[in-house]
Amino acid sequence: MIFLILLKAFLITLWVVFIGLLFLGIGRKITARIQKRYGPPFYQQFIDVIKLLAKESIWHHWIMILGAIMALGGLIATALHVPIAGILPYDSNGPIFLVLYLSAIGYLGMAMGVSASGNPNAPLGIGRALTLMLGYEIPFAAVLIIFMGLTKSSYFLQIAQSQAGGILHWNFIRYPLAFIGAEIAVQAMMAEKPFDQMIAPAEIASGPLVEWPGKFLGLGMIQMGVSVFIETAIITNLFLGPSHNILDFTLKQFGIYFIALCINAVMPRFKIENAAIYLWTIPLGLGLLQMLITFVL
């Protein structure tokens, strides 16, 4: 019994990492094409991860290692609780609160790891990331609570199954305001523009990952892939109907990621406090408006 659960968990983990890295690779290619570059091949991300993992790395303290392990481990555990076309390692049905609070352990691990690296630019990035997190979690929670209230359950699986019966029953058509709000929140969650100040991909000397060399960065890249997977999977479960098979599910996930990429490619950047305030006004406002329309009117 427990062996079966672990075997399933292992296979799902492989799939999650594979799809996450594939998305990141395709994403690089698409961004390049939007900017009229040729871009790296779509499998470049796999090459990068393998190269980084094979590199000899420096570390400052075991807390740094603990942080890196917690970061990736926490996110993988989260991914194993998000239903992928209804598939889960055990019959958890995708408990929403667990997913929200388990993903936090991944972010905490990363924050701890970079703090233990002793570079002051790293916690600066974390401080921004957490401020942004306070920004996007609230509208996202509002959207989640709408669907929890509608289905009287706190499970992703139930929300996905409640949309059965053709595209007109899918939540993004029935609850468009919530969908837009959640999309903006997910844009911030993935740290894509206009919310990318915290990860600061263009500025090498700041941002959380400044002091993560070699295999730490490799783990960080896998973690990024897993987090993209989780975020797109959550939106897919919430808005894009029940999926019949994994391929269907993955295509929907890619659709969500594609939207995020296109916005990312053409947007400038928010200052972090302005980003938080923007997230508390527009997406939260949309979410609350949807809540009002759904439950009161």
């Binding site: 659960i5 672990l6 292992f10 993992l53 000899e56 790395s57 420096i58 570390w59 400052h60 807390i63 290692i65 392990i69 481990g73 993988i76 555990a77 194993l80 609780h81 390692p89 055990y90 958890s92 408990p95 609160f97 609070y101 388990l102 936090a104 352990i105 905490l108 924050a111 701890m112 703090s115 002793g118 570079n119 002051p120 916690p123 401080g127 957490l130 401020t131 997190m133 306070l134 609230i138 929670a141 609570i145 929890m148 209230g149 359950s153 706190s154 499970y155 000397a205 400044v210 002091e211 060399p213 070699g214 295999k215 490799g218 783990l219 200052k271 972090i272 406090e273 609350l288 439950f295």
Partner: protein, 628 residues
């Protein structure tokens, strides 16, 4: 065997013995304290299940024409509080025994034992008189401990004192009102008599003094101002007690007296099946947690920061309890217990840091984790629990609280609670980074080392408890089933196995989730150690765009980012929050003091006008009494 009487009398005796003979000897005092708490713990443990057990005073006291027989009645709620109080104090005593060797230690044992014996009176009192005696008897010694007899703590401890005396007076007024309405001082009887009266809006005024008394004690908004100040001026090893235990007496009072009245419709009016008053108080809990969370962002003193965290958690508990549903009560009590455990542990680690460094300013610390790994691990697990993240106990109770809110379909409340809950993550990480991680200061590099094993014992026990309750919430919830049955918790919300969290919108198998979490952690650990090698470098050997920080004259002291951590956020929000309530209490204090001085001046004047005036007023009253 007389249990309650023994604990109370023994507490007073030990307090007296220590005060008379061992005032100078901290080690013997603490050993006596540990023996006392351990002995009481064992005595109390045997009372589980004997809910009919009571101890009555032999003599009967007449109050006017009412006769009172003081009785201490065993009850489930009081028992669970008592067992936790004595258990936690036992381990806190072990820590303090080690702490007593430092120059920061004060001999607070005589007062602390008094507080513990007072807690028995509060928890098991059958009538309001004993309850009130215990309540006051708890308030005063804490003031002397918090004050430490030092002038610099005067104004901070005055916040505690003034507000809690206000609460005590409110409680007395409330008891008098209840007595006037019911002609009895027995708590249970008075509740049933009050409920038999016809509910009207006037009954609301009867409860106001009780609200003030209990909300002050539990440091809810707008009375929260005393909590951070009392924590920061209290001795480091006493702060766990304030946060972990003392503020919970307010919660206990609410559960004991206010909840039975509100849930039975004592005050007319309901909103979605919840009494309207309770609904607003539920929002008060949310406001408490949001205000405390936002105030904690800018806090630089680690004890004040964690005090704000306690206030925020009290907010969650109040929200859950004032839903007045059985599930809300379950969540509230469970979170109270969990918060007791993890907050005591967090404050113990802070005391350990203070023990070695002598400072509570986070900007003066940094990198302590590299020298105190056990303390760091304990703190880490404590804050993970405090942030409500999964494998720790904080998550399990937050889960039930969320389910209780959703059960009533208060969706906006759930969103607001999410804000506070996510905000907790911000200030907790800030504490983790500023105290324990980053660059270690040069002055701490050689002097700081791990605390002795004796002081580590509570940390180990705490870590084990936090994780095991997180994975097996049934360890706490199962023994409480008789209590939940008595408040009418539906069978579907009662735990069927050790690891199944109940909920209105779905259940959670915590054991399976923990297995998945462990699997992921093991998998990544294996991945990390099978791939390329890694070697260790000193902290200052950092990537700084290829330059050496030392070339710019930057040392470890200045290479740490700790001050003004969330500055962009603070700039936007804090002036608004910081001013309102604090200013109100400051003005309140200012005018009260002036009023006092005015009265004082009457007596100070040389012309004796004051005496004549007062005597005149008294005479008028006396004659007035005859005439009317």
């Amino acid at each position: 065997m007389i249990t309650f009487g023994t604990i109370v009398i023994l507490g007073i005796l030990i307090s007296l013995i220590i005060w008379l003979f061992f005032r100078e000897n901290k080690v013997i005092s603490w050993i006596l304290f540990i023996l006392y708490t351990g002995f009481s713990f064992v005595l109390l443990l045997r009372l589980y299940g004997q809910w009919q057990y009571y101890e009555a005073f032999k003599s009967i006291i007449y109050l006017g024409n009412i006769k009172i027989k003081f009785t201490l009645q065993n009850n489930m709620l009081g028992w669970i509080f008592a067992i936790l109080i004595f258990g936690i104090s036992f381990f806190n005593g072990l820590f303090s025994l080690g702490f007593s060797k430092s120059k920061y230690s004060k001999n607070i044992v005589p007062l602390w034992t008094l507080i513990l014996s007072a807690s028995i009176l509060i928890l098991f009192a059958k009538d309001f008189i004993l309850f009130f005696v215990g309540w006051e008897y708890l308030t005063w010694p804490v003031f002397f401990i918090v004050n430490q007899g030092k002038k610099k703590f005067y104004s901070d401890s005055m916040y505690y004192f003034a507000l809690n005396v206000l609460g005590g007076m409110a409680l007395m007024l409330g008891i008098w009102l209840v007595f006037k309405n019911t002609q009895t001082l027995d708590i249970k009887t008075s509740i049933s008599i009050l409920l038999s009266h016809k509910a009207s809006i006037h009954t609301f005024w009867l409860l106001i003094p009780f609200f003030i008394a209990f909300l002050v004690k539990s440091a809810a908004y707008p009375f929260h101002v005393w909590a951070p100040r009392a924590h920061s001026s209290a001795p480091a090893d006493f702060s766990p007690f304030i946060s972990g235990i003392m503020i919970k007496f307010g919660i206990f009072g609410i559960l004991l007296f206010i909840y039975p009245l509100l849930s039975k419709g004592f005050i007319p009016g309901t909103y979605h099946g919840v009494p309207t008053t309770a609904y607003f108080l539920s929002w008060l809990g949310i406001i408490t947690s949001i205000v405390a969370t936002v105030l904690a962002f800018s806090e630089n003193n680690m004890k004040r920061l964690m005090a704000y965290s306690s206030v925020a958690n009290v907010g969650y508990i109040l929200t859950a309890i004032f839903l007045t549903t059985p599930l809300g009560i379950e969540g509230g009590i469970f979170h109270t217990i969990n918060h007791m455990i993890f907050k005591v542990i967090i404050f113990i680690t802070l005391a350990a840091v203070y023990f070695r460094t002598g400072t509570a300013d986070m900007s003066k610390l940094g990198g302590i984790a590299y020298k105190m790994p056990i303390t760091f691990m304990t703190f880490l697990i404590g804050i993970i629990a405090a942030a409500g993240i999964f494998p720790m106990n904080g998550f399990t109770s937050k889960w039930i609280i969320f389910q209780a809110i959703l059960e009533k379909h208060f969706y906006l409340m759930a969103v607001a609670m999410f804000f506070a809950s996510t905000g907790a993550f911000l200030y907790l990480y800030r504490a983790l980074h500023s105290i324990f991680l980053g660059q270690i200061k040069p002055e701490h590099r050689d002097s700081v080392k791990e605390v002795p094993f004796l002081m580590q014992i509570p940390m180990w026990i705490g870590m084990i408890l936090i994780i095991s309750i997180g994975v097996f919430p049934g360890l706490v919830l199962k023994p409480l089933i008789p209590f939940f049955n008595s408040i009418g918790l539906p069978a579907k919300y009662i735990l069927t196995s050790l690891s199944k969290l109940p909920g209105s919108f779905g259940q959670l198998n915590t054991l399976n989730a923990a297995i998945i979490f462990g699997f992921a952690a093991v998998l990544v650990t294996i991945l990390f150690f099978v791939v390329a090698k890694h070697h260790k470098k000193p902290f200052m050997d950092n990537y700084t765009a290829g330059e050496d920080p030392k070339d710019w004259g930057v040392d470890e002291n200045r290479y740490q980012f700790a001050y003004g951590f969330y500055q962009p956020f603070e700039k936007k929000f804090l002036p608004f929050f910081k001013r309102s309530v604090d200013m109100f209490w400051q003005y309140f204090g200012f005018y009260t003091k002036h009023l006092g001085e005015w009265f004082n001046n009457i007596f100070k004047d040389d012309n004796n006008f004051g005496y004549i005036a007062i005597i005149g007023i008294v005479i008028i009253f006396i004659f007035g009494g005859f005439v009317l």
